[in-house]
């Protein structure tokens, strides 16, 4: 063990590899438990958290799980709204890649060779990406609706901006983590940084970038579904409509469709990832 200044606990009490209770997992666990206890104090314990009769309606809701609405008419509606959700998600993720890729390259700073020209650019673009992804897609959607009105384009842009923020940041990290020796070889043979990027970094980084994009695609399906809250069609809006009419059977049909969709994309993306990384 390294000599520790922070703690006098015995090694038995803190069996972490790198010195001291305050730098180990025991301390982390303590912090997490303390945070949880603190958060519980902010609840109002006086009033009952459950509605009178609320449990009964939850019971009704779960009973409806066994009897989803299966009329042909409603199934067609479910399918068409599922397709809308998929279309928004796909279009959103396409735009996110188009936006996120150049931003990611700029934020990784691989195009500049000298430190002085690299640092400001990296800081600026990382900050920009951070701002894009800090605001949730639904909030973006609401801003778009408030600013330019309700349309699928608003939902797609709202989806694309935070996703571009996430993708760009991950792309930048992946591009920075590419092993250096092959790049040095390219530089030694006189390639500019742009050429190093095109012929060295990108071919090596592409499988990881694609596999992360596919993982995000699964998340995009869920995000596209909740765009219904601001009035854009799709599974989320139908769920909201059926739920406010208390048609629990319909809600369950839609929920099953949504879960099936997410599961399908999950299987597809894990298949693609295995194919890409092997």
């Amino acid at each position: 063990m390294r000599p520790s200044t922070a703690s006098t606990t015995s090694p038995q009490a803190a069996p972490e590899q790198s010195g001291g209770f305050f730098r180990g997992r025991g301390f982390l666990t303590l912090l997490l438990v303390a945070a949880l206890l603190w958060s519980l104090t902010s609840l109002s314990w006086g009033s009952s958290p459950v509605h009178p009769g609320g449990l009964a309606s939850i019971g009704q809701f779960f009973q409806a799980a066994l009897r989803p609405e299966l009329s042909a008419e409603f199934l067609t509606l479910t399918l068409s709204s599922a397709w809308k959700t998929v279309a928004y998600a796909v279009a959103g993720i396409c735009l996110a890649v188009i936006l996120g890729f150049p931003l990611g390259v700029l934020a990784s700073g691989v195009l500049a060779r000298r430190w002085a020209s690299r640092i400001p650019g990296v800081a600026a673009f990382r900050f920009l990406l951070g701002c894009m992804r800090a605001v949730h897609e639904l909030i973006w959607a609401w801003f778009f609706v408030a600013a330019v009105g309700l349309s699928p384009a608003a939902a797609i842009f709202a989806l694309a901006i935070p996703y571009a923020g996430i993708l760009g940041r991950i792309y930048a990290d992946i591009l920075n983590d590419v092993p250096n020796p092959p790049l040095q070889a390219l530089r030694a043979s006189g390639a500019s940084e742009t050429k190093v990027l095109l012929y060295g970094r990108l071919p090596m980084a592409l499988p990881d970038m694609l596999s992360y994009t596919f993982y995000r695609f699964e998340c995009a399906i869920r995000s596209a579904a909740i765009m219904g809250f601001v009035g854009v069609g799709g599974l989320g809006m139908q769920i909201q409509l059926s739920l406010s009419d208390l048609y629990f059977n319909e809600v369950w049909t839609l929920l099953y469709a949504l879960v099936a969709l997410v599961l399908l994309v999950d299987l597809w993306s894990s298949w693609v990832r295995r194919y890409l990384t092997s």
């Binding site: 912090l31 809701f61 600013a147 797609i156």
Partner: protein, 266 residues
């Protein structure tokens, strides 16, 4: 690849079949409206001081931000404790007895049950869970935290069960062959390898959850989200700007905290 076919189909649908509203993007009117909206956020055309320049309004919104932070922590508590209790039986190698536990019928049934639960709670977005939760719970921090907790329980459970499935099984087998019981094997052979990963996932999800608390607040729960809903509906855009600032402060705070905590987990 199949994805490109899907992408083409989606774009064709959005551009030509459904009225996607993309044509309006290229009209000056749309851009003027967007500019106007941004101006309103910054306080143009408001009588009196914009909200984000008043100190007591800052404090008021700060109290809401405090509630939001508490909501995210409770949600992570629910998700974390739930996942911690169930991720072992949900791992395939534990359930089928590959790790030298016995492959009884109940443990297999439990495996499928838990995996089904993970899929459902993970597949349904937290906003929709929140809409359902408010049927039973009175709107407030707890309702939002439960909704967030359920959704993240599915994600955490799935991720950590997969960690157990990919573990190096040798230490567990060694313990088993030297005569330890099933629980000793799990506690000394598997958990020490899996828990650091679990903590990393927990912290990573917390970063996501703090962004989502606002969204859950929209339908039911307290905190910044409900106030956001009110202010947006009443066109009090300078209030919205203040809430947005507090929201960004929260996000940055949580990002920095998890960065520090992650160093501890390593």
């Amino acid at each position: 690849m199949a994805f490109f076919a899907l992408a083409c189909a989606s774009w064709i649908y959005l551009l030509f079949v459904a009225d996607g509203g993309f044509r309006e993007l290229f009209r000056g009117e749309t851009w003027r409206q967007a500019g106007e909206f941004l101006g309103q956020l910054a306080g143009a055309g408001v009588e009196g001081t914009p909200t984000f320049l008043q100190w007591d309004e800052w404090l008021e919104a700060g109290a809401l931000a405090y509630d939001t932070l508490a909501m995210s922590v409770i949600a992570m508590g629910i998700a974390g404790v739930g996942a911690l209790l169930t991720f072992l039986p949900a791992a395939r190698n534990v359930a089928t007895g590959e790790l030298a536990a016995s492959a009884s019928f109940p443990s297999r049934a439990l495996y499928y049950l838990l995996r089904g639960l993970f899929i459902f709670s993970r597949g349904i977005p937290e906003l929709i869970i929140a809409m359902i939760v408010v049927f039973a719970f009175s709107p407030g921090i707890l309702a939002g935290a439960i909704a967030l907790g359920i959704h993240n329980y599915g994600i955490l459970g799935k991720l950590s069960a997969e960690v157990v499935e990919d573990l190096d099984p040798r230490s567990a087998r060694a313990l088993r062959t030297s005569g330890s019981g099933v629980f000793q094997m799990l506690a000394y052979g598997i958990l020490p390898q899996a828990l650091p990963q679990f903590l990393t996932f927990l912290l990573y999800r917390w970063e996501v959850v703090i962004r989502t608390t606002v969204v859950v607040g929209l339908v039911s729960a307290g905190g910044l989200g409900r106030e956001f809903l009110l202010d947006m509906s009443l066109f009090r855009y300078t209030d919205v700007a203040l809430l947005l600032i507090w929201y960004l402060i929260l996000v940055v705070f949580v990002d920095l905290t998890t960065m520090f905590l992650r160093r501890l987990a390593r």
